[in-house]
């Protein structure tokens, strides 16, 4: 079940029909408040959230949703506004699409997020341990020095990919495949935002035990300074 949050009723109705045609069922909400109510009542697999909403805006809705749910969120950002996109990913959106979007592209992104979730479920259920970091793939749970850290699905996937290949460089293309379930596109900086979110949330840096290093123009590498 997909929840589409947009105040353009005509659009959401058409989107509902279109998604149905692609075999995806959807419900709609016109405001952030309505979206939060629906989330409490229904089992929602994915949220498509427009940034521009009357009353509380998309970013605020995103923040409130993230306080309680790990549901993947695809943001619809304003075309031509790069800061919206970055802000969206920083606030915990899993992916974004700029509006006016191509409906088929939307379906592809939704599919990518679902595939990624399936892959995650199919993957090993064993917790991963690296220095101060413990990852539990079953519950998307992460402990840093015993302290729980809240990560979005995309962030978790990026971290998992980096940790399971610690010491080896992961290209941006591969990380995009793993974390977002889609190929890297030209001028797509999503993965970099996810990595910088990880650094911030886990306080990874040259002085910490774990560090995510940027290999300029190529990718990222997780190194452990363990004694």
């Amino acid at each position: 079940m997909i929840l589409v949050v947009d105040d353009d009723v005509e659009l959401t109705q058409m989107l509902q029909r279109f998604l149905a045609g692609e075999g995806l069922s959807a419900i709609q909400a016109g405001t952030g408040g309505e979206a939060l109510r629906l989330l409490a009542q229904r089992a929602v697999d994915l949220i498509v959230l427009d940034v521009m909403l009357p009353g509380i805006d998309g970013f605020e809705v995103l923040r409130q949703v993230r306080e309680r749910y790990d549901t993947p969120i695809l943001m619809l950002t304003a075309r031509g506004d790069d800061t919206d996109r970055i802000l969206g990913l920083e606030s915990g959106a899993d992916d974004y699409l700029s509006k006016p979007f191509n409906p088929r592209e939307l379906v592809a992104r939704i599919g990518a997020i679902f595939r990624r979730m399936e892959r995650r479920e199919a993957a090993s259920r064993l917790p991963i341990q690296l220095g101060p970091l413990t990852m539990d793939p079953t519950r998307l749970g992460v402990l840093m020095n015993g302290e729980p850290i809240r990560l979005t699905t995309a962030e978790f996937m990026v971290l998992e990919a980096l940790v399971s290949a610690a010491g080896k460089m992961q290209t941006r293309a591969r990380l995009t495949e793993v974390a977002l379930g889609r190929p890297l596109e030209a001028y797509d900086r999503s993965i970099d935002t996810h990595v910088s979110n990880l650094r911030r949330k886990l306080r990874l840096g040259p002085d910490a035990l774990l560090e995510i290093r940027s290999i300029r123009g190529a990718g990222y590498l997780l190194t452990a300074h363990l004694s």
């Binding site: 353009d8 279109f18 692609e22 304003a78 031509g80 006016p100 191509n102 409906p103």
Partner: protein
């Protein structure tokens, strides 16, 4: 001497030289006439008036007349000697004889009481015009006057042409596309005609700016409003395609492609107008340009390799600037994408980064067809190359605005060997603090 300054200076100087020459000629003429008339004087010419003075006023009358003559002919001395050989005022007789005194015949004047005087006229000063008659030699004097007036004229001409020069600088920056330029306050404060010209000019720029701003506002609002219908249009087209048969497939594809195009244009217009809003708050953080450049190049490789073109960073340097990473990225990205678009088939794009003075210069060279020389300055204008299918032709205009917001500059030039070279210059971290963003935002 084609400059206004040169012409003014030269014409003032010529006028002064002519005036000086005329004055000298007149002075010379007067002096020569006077000398000639004096030289023509003979003792006889004084005899009659002297006789008259003596006859009517006696010796007192003669003395008064004598004083009068001394004023009129300071170069001459008139003596009156009585029968006993005594001079009227007991003076020693001196000076040279006049040229007309031939044979020593001296006129005699007689009073009513019968006493008579011999009149002797002598020249005590020479009236020929000599060098000593002037304080300085005329050529030296003329030289000094010309030198002083030359400097004076230069100052005057400069005084008149400087504001014109300032005005011109303003006009040029505006012509280069920087409509936010304001003229020098000193120029605007002037109370003369040039000051009013500058103020009128300032008002003209302001109304131009307002006109342009309202045009852009309209464009932005229209684009903004277009987004919702466009989204719905796309969705409706996709829905129709879902339900339609295979026969109309290609028509639906055309619709989707065209909608996509409008969509890209709307996106670019919005991105461009967002940059042009007055005093846009641009983020200011330390940006590692070296890293940014490599990232953009890595990103662009995807697009370039699809078009079978290659990108290479030929030279680089360590460079950190203060600014907005998103804007700087879009500036470099747009220039690079333009280069990819216009590079020749299987072509090569070269990037060079280096520091020049307090600036970081990023040069992007392609091997494409270049641009007609008269159009080189126009490529940063919106829609200049809008004919191509990719985007609205706003990429370079966006790049330019982003660079200007960082207090930098962007230029384009044809490369000698063919192709276009675009240069982005951004002040280094410290230099940027002083000017750039602050003054622009305040403008």
């Amino acid at each position: 001497m084609t400059s206004l300054f040169g012409r003014l200076w030269l014409s003032y100087l010529v006028v002064i030289a002519l005036t000086l020459g005329a004055a000298a000629a007149i002075g010379f003429g007067v002096a020569v006439n006077r000398a000639r008339s004096v030289n023509e004087l003979t003792p006889i010419s004084f005899a009659r008036p002297a006789q008259m003075a003596l006859a009517t006023g006696g010796t007192d009358g003669l003395l008064r007349w004598l004083v009068e003559q001394r004023h009129r002919h300071p170069e001459l001395q008139l003596y009156f000697v009585d029968q006993s050989g005594r001079e009227l005022m007991s003076r020693q007789i001196g000076g040279r004889e006049l040229p007309g005194t031939n044979g020593g015949v001296e006129p005699v004047v007689t009073a009513r009481n019968g006493s008579s005087y011999r009149m002797i006229v002598r020249r005590t000063q020479n009236f020929a015009i000599t060098v000593g008659d002037f304080l300085l030699a005329p050529e030296v004097l003329i030289g000094i006057v010309l030198a002083i007036s030359g400097v004076g004229c230069a100052v005057l001409a400069r005084f008149l042409t400087r504001p014109i020069e300032q005005l011109r600088t303003g006009v040029r920056t505006i012509a280069a596309g920087d409509i936010r330029t304001r003229l020098a306050p000193a120029l605007l404060r002037r109370r003369d005609e040039l000051g009013s010209l500058a103020r009128d000019f300032g008002r003209m720029i302001e109304s131009l700016e307002a006109m342009i701003a309202s045009k852009e506002e309209l464009l932005r609002d229209v684009s903004h409003e277009l987004r919702s219908p466009l989204t719905r249009l796309r969705l409706a087209a996709s829905l129709a395609k879902q339900e339609a048969n295979a026969a109309s497939e290609s028509e639906f594809e055309t619709i989707e492609r065209e909608v996509e195009r409008i969509d890209r244009m709307v996106g670019e217009i919005l991105r461009y107008s967002r940059l042009s809003e007055h005093g846009p708050p641009i983020g200011s953080q330390a940006v590692d340009l070296t890293e940014l450049l490599e990232e953009v190049v890595a990103d662009a490789h995807i697009e370039a390799s699809e078009a079978r073109k290659s990108i290479q960073i030929v030279s680089s340097c360590r460079a950190e600037v203060q600014g907005d990473v998103v804007l700087l990225r879009s500036a470099i990205e747009n220039v690079l994408r333009n280069a990819i678009r216009f590079a020749s088939k299987n072509g090569r794009i070269e990037l060079r980064m280096g520091s020049v003075g307090g600036l970081i210069r990023i040069e992007v060279d392609d091997d494409g067809p270049g641009i007609a020389d008269q159009d080189v300055g126009k490529i940063f204008m919106p829609f200049f190359r809008g004919e191509a299918s990719n985007g609205a032709g706003l990429g370079l205009a966006i790049a330019r605005r982003a660079v200007l917001l960082h207090g930098g500059d962007i230029r384009a030039a044809n490369r000698p060997g063919g192709g276009l070279s675009v240069q982005i210059e951004v002040p280094l971290a410290s230099a940027h603090e002083a000017g750039g963003v602050g003054s622009l935002a305040g403008a």
